[in-house]
């Protein structure tokens, strides 16, 4: 009885019916009587949770409690006109998440850089075409060298366009919290470059209406060369530099300790965070909050039936720290058997899981024997006595789901996986397996082993996952030995530690293949 003091005083009274409350009041009266007797006996003070004093003052009041409970208890109501309930709040926040007012921010940077790139690509063509359009008659004719330049210009532009498409026109995987330094640098460089070329073009060619067309073509060709080199620089900075591994990252999930080690090259913290998250979705087993805690029965036994008696008066305020310290010290001295219970509880749990798993496997194997694939050359109705109806995969899946449904549900409940697999999803997976001729074991692999988080993602959320990067250093700085940053989500976070890979001193030793010779062991002498 005494260990039920954790609930707060008011809520238990408000939400239950009158008859059950009567029983509880009777029980409280008995409890108050026993407590009064103990307090009268040896002047004891019991350690209480904050909710207790409420009960204490009420329990000593006696019979008036029944009639006056409405006036003195505070009640938390569901909804009123001027307040919103918890469900409304969650619904509103979900709507806020699903609607996308910030969607445009995600696309701002790619659109900008795409526009700049396109402009840079079209500039040489503009350089070539503008004189032709504006002062065609005054241009000097330009023979074979110009044509050679035209061809080379065309091919270089083609290569530039293709490689830009291959490298840069990819859907963006993440939005970074700060400016992506290298990309910003390259954009600035490109802009500066193109702007300065246009400036010179405008001043030296358009203004005086330059007549030497070959020079103009050469100018445009030099711009294309320079663009190719800028693209080479972009390739090296954005793609190639991080390929050689330089650091080892240890990623630990805070809730259940799942950890992985990754090798990574030279990156800034935010880019490394994006990379880690990509690996997280395919490497880490899914986070199941139901599997985390020790069963309450084990933990609560530690605190049960434990009282600290202090002689003297009831000045609980200044004695509370002393009492709690005494309680902790006494608890440490007391022989602790909870590890024993934990061991047996774990063994029991494992046995239960294995039993359910065996039943599930047998049920699924049996269910799969009920159907077989119809071959094309077989006639559909083999004999008039047993007409076989031809089903498509969905119907076949539904037909064989029934015998295994119960075993599957029990197994999922035991392993606490039932929030991840709805009946609809199981039937869909069954249909998938039947279509691809999978064995029962292949069908079951999805449920017997906890898969990576990617497996349980809903495809519909286009807004993406919200992660927060928590770091003591600015997130655009490069990775260094000993840095720690963490990626936080609502209910768990990933802590990443950076260590640099060791420098390897590789030596050489030459072994002559003829030097492999063996003899019997020498006569050894032992003194006794």
């Amino acid at each position: 009885m005494d260990n039920e003091s954790q609930y707060s005083g008011y809520s238990y009274k408000s939400s239950h019916s009158r008859s059950s409350r009567k029983h509880r009041d009777r029980r409280d009266r008995h409890r108050s009587k026993s407590r009064d007797s103990s307090s009268r006996g040896d002047k004891s003070v019991t350690i209480q949770a904050p909710g207790e004093p409420l009960l204490d003052t009420e329990s000593t009041r006696g019979d008036e409690r029944d009639d006056n409970w409405g006036e003195t208890t505070t009640v938390v109501t569901g909804t009123s006109e001027h307040s919103i309930s918890n469900e409304d709040l969650t619904r509103a926040s979900k709507e806020l998440e699903d609607s996308s007012p910030l969607e445009c921010r995600r696309f701002a940077a790619p659109v900008l850089s795409g526009a700049l790139g396109l402009f840079a690509l079209l500039t040489p063509l503009a350089f070539l075409l503008l004189p032709q359009l504006l002062w065609r008659d005054q241009l000097e004719p330009c023979g074979v060298p110009c044509e050679g330049l035209y061809v080379s210009l065309a091919f270089k532009l083609l290569v530039l366009a293709l490689s830009s498409w291959a490298l840069f026109l990819r859907p963006q995987r993440a939005t970074l919290p700060r400016l992506f330094v290298f990309r910003g640098l390259l954009m600035a460089l490109l802009f500066l470059f193109v702007a300065s070329y246009w400036l010179f073009y405008g001043v030296r060619v358009l203004e005086p209406r330059e007549r030497d067309y070959r020079g103009i073509v050469g100018y445009a060709a030099s711009l294309v060369d320079a663009l190719l080199f800028i693209q080479y620089l972009a390739l090296v900075l954005l793609e190639v530099r991080q390929m050689q591994p330089a650091f080892c990252l240890k990623v630990v999930r805070t809730t259940d300790g799942a950890s992985r080690f990754y090798n990574i090259g030279h990156l800034s913290i935010q880019r490394a965070a994006v990379w880690v998250l990509e690996q997280y979705y395919s490497d880490f087993p899914v986070y199941n909050p139901a599997l985390l805690n020790l069963p309450k029965s084990i933990l609560s036994k530690k605190m049960s039936g434990f009282k600290v008696y202090s002689l003297g008066e009831e000045n609980s305020t200044n004695n509370s720290t002393g009492q709690s310290r005494a309680m902790i010290a006494a608890a440490a001295r007391r022989r602790d058997n909870s590890h024993n219970e934990y061991y047996y509880e774990e063994a029991e749990m494992e046995r239960r899981v294995r039993k359910r798993k065996a039943r599930l496997v047998v049920a699924v194997e049996e269910a799969f024997t009920h159907i077989k694939r119809l071959q094309d050359d077989e006639p559909a109705a083999s004999s008039p006595k047993h007409p076989r109806e031809v089903m498509d995969p969905r119907e076949a899946a539904q037909a064989i789901f029934a015998p295994m449904a119960r075993a599957m549900q029990k197994y999922l409940r035991t392993t606490r996986q039932q929030p991840y697999h709805s009946m609809e999803s199981i039937i869909a997976h069954l249909q998938f397996c039947i279509t691809h001729n999978m064995t029962p074991k292949a069908f079951l692999e999805r449920y017997l082993t906890t898969g990576p988080t990617m497996q349980y993602q809903r495809e519909s959320s286009s807004r993406g996952r919200q992660w927060t990067l928590v770091s003591e250093e600015p997130v655009t700085s490069a990775l260094r030995q000993g840095q720690v940053f963490s990626l936080r989500r609502l209910d768990f976070s990933l802590v990443v530690t950076v260590t640099s890979l060791p420098f390897l001193n590789l030596g050489e030793e030459f072994i002559d293949p003829k030097s492999h010779k063996f003899v019997m062991r020498l006569q050894s002498e032992t003194s006794v």
Binding site: V519, M520, R521, L522, Q523, S524, E525, T526, S527, V528
Partner: protein, 123 residues
């Protein structure tokens, strides 16, 4: 001391009883052994037949219990306290000799010249 494969080994042996001497917490006998079925018999300087893989006494410490009991260098040990030593590994032989709960070892040893000595004595 040669043996014919397939036939039982016969040899003239001498009984030697050695009292172990306590030195600190070890009981020592005062000689060194060599040989064994896992060793190379060709390197044995004391054996007549260079394929003999028996246990031989290679050294006797002067003044030790083995010298007192008249054990000589080059003796082949045939038995220790009833345990056969003709077909044992080197480590097994060492273990048989250095048992901590035995104070005395009774060896049967044979050496070259024993047979002729016995024959001469009979004549």
């Amino acid at each position: 001391m040669s043996f014919i494969p397939g036939e039982p080994v016969t040899a003239v042996v001498q009984r030697i009883e050695i009292q172990k001497l306590r030195q600190g917490e070890n009981l020592i006998l005062g000689f060194s052994i060599g040989g064994g079925i896992d060793q190379d018999p060709g390197q044995n300087p004391f054996s007549e037949d260079k394929t003999d893989k028996g246990i031989y006494v290679t050294r006797v410490t002067p003044g030790g219990p083995a010298e007192v009991a008249d054990l000589r260098m080059g003796d082949k040990i045939m038995q220790v306290n009833g345990w056969d030593m003709t077909m044992v590994t080197h480590d097994q032989a060492r273990k048989r000799l250095t048992k901590k709960n035995e104070d005395v070892v009774r060896l049967l040893v044979t050496r070259q010249g024993l047979e002729s000595a016995v024959r001469n004595a009979r004549m």
